[in-house]
Symmetry: D4
Subunit: 253 residues, 8 copies
């Protein structure tokens, strides 16, 4: 489309329909529009069928329904995150072709068959971290990654982690989800040679300060190989883990 | 001494030298004085030869020298903590009967032979935590506890910790010293059945916030059996570990 | 069980059913499994009847009921903490053999007669701290410790504390629970020669910052002999106090 | 002076030298000038010989010397606070009629005989708090208050405090100076019926966070009767304590 | 009562009913009991009819009713603070002889005629600070102080403050209540020569951090003569202001 | 009015009805009253029809209704901010001549035709920031400024911002509203030569800490030309932007 | 220059020297380059002689000298900020055509005569804030603004501020610089109808937390019309004040 | 080695030299030792020549020299980080076969030729961030990654970033290093489809709080695809970027 705009300009100029002045004026501000086009060209999503994403929290229901309606026209699969039950019911009024995970608060709308590549391990310290882990895991699957869920293997009973080290080592990336003192990420990074994306959760109480404790633990990991996303940000962890895993699975671009 | 004061009062009253009014007036305010006496009577230190303790940081050198001189009259061993090199030289002007640990910044003045009881394990995450650990260890030894030093066994290479679990299990208390993300205390408490006194250290940088990161980690330990002292407070950890270990070693009072 | 696995391997190898290669492969990854076994062997709980523990906060009710059902098969007593009324009602659907403390939010399920040893004093600054103190006290009793409750003896009326010093001195450990400015732990540690496990509570308002004030006070205690658990963590304080008290009561292992 | 200005305006208007317009214009902006005058009239300092005060920290030495020179023309006594040794030497170049307290970092310049009234007790938790306490005490004396210094009576050895309660009870105000956990202020306020001005100090380390710990403790005092000034602000505590004590000593205005 | 206990001991010893040993043993632990007695003797409240105080927040209703019932036996007036509507209704079940201020969340139970002395000015920055100011004002009145309420005179329209300076100058103490940026306390202290007890309130939003902003402003007041109580602590401000005002009004003890 | 008071004083003095003493006494305290008058004279609002403003949050409904009733007597337009639905219904009981924006929580009561001047661009990072942006935009319009709304142009899709740079460059001031990481303000200030008033919003979660993240980002902008108002403070941003825009539009005073 | 590049492309295409493909490829990535050009075109600095700016803090001296050398080739005046004495000496090795303000730590290199427009008032609370105020004032002057310096008019002696209100009212913008409690900005904004750019300074101690106290005060100003820059950021305040003042002085663009 | 130990045990048991009991006892504690062996087997470093790493900060010089001496025996290349000049001189006493980067504070000791794979882009916002970026870049090179350095492309002049987007898009990972407001990471992630490892730096002042500002910005990135390491942690960023890049370059394991 935009490419065509430039071609039209060029041709209009060549055949005398447009003056140099007119062409120049349009080209000077074109960059900003082209930026989008350029970016899209490089965006793997376009080529391989990445879903559209809607962050639902704070959106009014009428607004949300309208966005979903618009997106459905693209005939793509859509990943909606932070979907409350109310938001889920609102989306249902627009379409019934959707899968809802209440625990992960995620909706996959207009779900398509996606070829899954590579492997990402999603591990949690406790059972209360699972809701954040599932946000990561479903994000990963919807973006086309194989996921191995390894839950409740925190350091309070560290043998549970050891029993699963082989599974973790097979992954291209680990998403390590933990609250309370958040030591899981350090311990995993000390044991495997795989990049670890750490997700602190707000699970805990008192001097946990809504996840600050786990966040600081993970940022200060004495074992190298850990980087961290925001507290409870399962989607963010899934997204960057997908970028990494697919790049490995597909080889160098 | 004070006991004698009360006896004098009682006898003076009995033999008519003091009126009831006079005795009453003295006794009403006696409590505050008696408190000291009462407390000392119950203080195990008096009976078993606990050392005197001087916290040197912030004390002027002339002041410090005078305190040491006074204490030497008691013919007891003295534990001086947070002793800078300048403070050490100042103390040397008063006496040369002392042992100085530069790394732990501790002086044992007028050292006595102390019978050591029980066992406390002092473990550290890294080598940079050793100066805090030594403050704990020397405090423990000076107070009459056997100490097993197990250094540099942090979670970045967790097998080092596992190689030493048997030694740790033999102790009555563990003092776990760690900076950075401070996961050591949780991991140890998840593996052994011994009370863990955790000491966060200010080792690290950035979002470590001078030890806040390790402090929060330890307070939020997902494994039970951990309690925490102030950042870099090796003496405090040693002191409470000594209270526990000696109570175990000596049996119920 | 696991011991038997190893024995089978050894015998299978000896009598030629297994090759050296096969045995070796299994043994290399055995460690992680053995860890559990080894740990259990050293876990006093196995031998002396420690209860199972469930932390209920954040668990879904269906999940919780299933966990309780499973545990009941072991015929052991179970300690459930942070039990809301809803959680309590859910557990009641599984069994009616339980005792519920609403104030401590604790359930003792399938309660057994437990021999109580030693003595732990649980003291609070005010009446609003009692709910945290009860979590500690009931945890202690369920783990087999004698408990002396001494409530509402905070420094606003310090004579109340003094009237109770003799009771406190008889304990092997003190659990000191206080909110607001949290001075209780320092004052107690300055008066008795017993290890103090301090529990800051979120009681108070304003610059109390949900317990941060009391937490910092306790960490900075000018009196030695204090270590600290997380804000409102009555269970954690009870658990480590139990480790200490029973070790004293039972003598050196 | 300013009063005279208004009188001139009024008379000028009455005898026709000034138009109503001219007088009105001047009066409209007079308020801002009158404010100073009004305030001074009510300022007890003017009548009873309060000293001038210079806060030296951050002032350049040449600037400081010039301020002192100017003030000396008033023939009043001058209180200079936060005086470093360098600042002291600079002031000495201007005048040698001064008294310097190195520990309190205070200079009384051109000292006058001051009638001292009432009584303020200045108490500290430890010896390291004395430098802040002396700033308060010398401020109080220079402003004309009797001071009773009661140092090193912190809660680590609470009997020391009790031995001095009678002295504290005789004061009209208590200035309570303490670092570390800062429990002194609460304990004093729980024992005496005298207003307590609490001064947190930055004495301590680790989770003391440069005095934040003591500040929060004092703000959250469970005993009523405590109010708090800034960390290490001995001058501020002395100033408000002087306002209170002198008002008591002089009776209702 | 307790005085009599000591007299009995002395007489019992004199007439041979008690041995010296027996008397000595009792006297050694007497202090703690005497402390209460001693303290009460010095407590002005006992002599002049200070009310009993109940802090209701966090107390269970049944508990609260029982406390009120007990206190009513003393035939004294009672000040209950932080009284929710539920708590108010609970107290009404015990007695209907009470006055409730919903805005201040204060109950005066069994109200007595109190002679009011001196003068305390209570000023607020805005109308939203009034609920905290009323807690201070009613506390002051119930403790026998005259109160001048000067509300909504914050620095956003500073002329309102100036119009009221003369009223403020007549007081022995000012209680300055302000939220948002909390500049009121500094400005008042810069204009009057009266001690200022500053109360930060949680009024505001965003970087106000529930009152932290106003708290820090007040602690850092560039005008001397300000000390600070906890955020929203109207009772605490009223209590210390009462201590000061009554001491001025009654003259030196 | 007040001008007249002074004139009366002057004339009364001139014609002998008032003594110099009487006039002087009144004038000395006049300043505080005059301040208001002086200020109003300079207040552009008086001359050009600025609305009255009511901040509704925390005001009781009865109180609010009374304030609105009083203000209506002035026959001016009134801007009510932070208007909940309940507050809106309360205002409706007083008058039905009003416009309510639910999203901005703003009421314009007794709306007047206002001449709009200059141009202010209001930009947001996301759609969830719109409610704060609308508070700014409606404030600006009610104060007589033209507003260009440019919403949802945050840095996650920076081409959207570039497509709108020309519109932004036409404004005299930019109000940049953003939550999460708040990078919008820096990026805008790096691209345009217009003063930027940045409004951090509390949109986001986790380590966003209710807007602290965006606040710090904006304060630390590496691009010059940014200043910041409180978190979510759309009104404050609109107010200062109006001061700037109108001053530009009207030329130097 | 760049314009010419596009013209060349167009002409090359028209006359057949370049294929459509070749032109298209170059135009797609042109935007990024054009951005600079577009921006410069709109940058008032280019037209009216704004200085180049170097932020010196953290730059190595050799690096700094090289940057200055390069800039000197442009024959423009250069504003260097955060210039330590060492940095000043380094710059002197490159050129001696410069003016250095030690107090503001600013160098104006290759100074040019600048036409000054409009008026900005720079006010400070105390004398210790002057170094930050001078950074703002010299920045303003170097960018071509008239500056009125009004220093040491903080709220501790508020009459000093009132004596200067008329001067402040004449300005198009106020830069209000204050440390400690930072109330100056609120008070000024409550008294004048001019936009206030507030600069918190790190002046103070204790709970000032290096300027955090003043920062929060200013962000929470109860008077509207205040926006805030970073702590000690005199340059940033001068820069945005210049944008505003010049826009007013030059009229709408 | 350890494998052989197990084989010996097995054979000893088979041929009757060891009893089942003896073998069992050894195997039970083997796990901890085997862990190391197992881990090493899976550690790519062993096979492909990763360097040994020494973190020098806080290590005593004598200690450091000894560690280097020991490591040199392995004939591997060694990466020493946080190397002060003093530490560098100490290492020089042990060997002169080393390369020192003063700006990155990194030493490559006993440097080997390393095959470099893939591509990592290291970008910085300003020049002051380069020292952290170089720590990342040299770490990456020493671990065998190709590095493209793109410095000083922060959002204050965003066209500089756009000019370099094509280079950034060619990388498998981006390390984005920025201080002040740290917006670089969000902007990059919004423009490219490559995982971004963000490194906040402590560059800046005031409300930057030593890097906290940039850290929070990066954690709250509104663009997905960003994860974060500790403040100033160039090594950590390089390490995880290497894990990712090499995995892509080498393909799935």
């Amino acid at each position: 489309m935009q490419k065509n705009d430039i071609i039209s300009l060029l041709e209009g100029y060549k055949n005398g329909e447009l003056t140099q002045e007119e062409v120049l004026n349009k080209l000077v501000y074109l960059p900003y529009k082209d930026l989008q086009f350029a970016k899209l060209d490089y965006h793997r999503g376009i080529r391989v069928g990445y879903p559209e994403v809607i962050y639902c929290e704070g959106k009014e229901l009428e607004h949300l329904k309208k966005i979903v309606e618009d997106m459905l026209k693209l005939d793509k699969n859509i990943l909606a995150t932070r979907v409350s039950k109310e938001a889920y019911r609102a989306i249902c009024e627009v379409t019934d072709n959707l899968i809802y995970s209440e625990v992960a608060r995620i909706c996959v709308i207009n779900p398509k068959d996606i070829k899954k590549e590579g492997l990402v391990a999603v591990v949690t310290g406790g059972t209360a971290d699972i809701k954040v882990a599932e946000e990561a895991a479903i994000t990963l699957e919807t973006f086309g990654n194989n996921v191995d869920r390894i839950y409740d293997v925190g350091v309070a009973g560290i043998h549970r982690l050891f029993n699963n080290l082989e599974r973790i080592r097979k992954a291209n990336v680990v998403v390590a989800v933990a609250g309370m003192e958040g030591a899981l990420a350090s311990v995993v990074a000390g044991l495997v040679d795989v990049p670890v994306i750490a997700v602190p959760t707000s699970v805990g109480y008192g001097a946990n300060f809504n996840g600050l404790s786990a966040l600081l633990t993970m940022l200060n990991s004495c074992a190298a190989g850990v980087s961290v996303v925001n507290i409870d940000n399962g989607f963010g962890a899934g997204y960057i883990a997908s970028l990494i895993n697919k790049r490995v699975a597909e080889g160098v671009e």
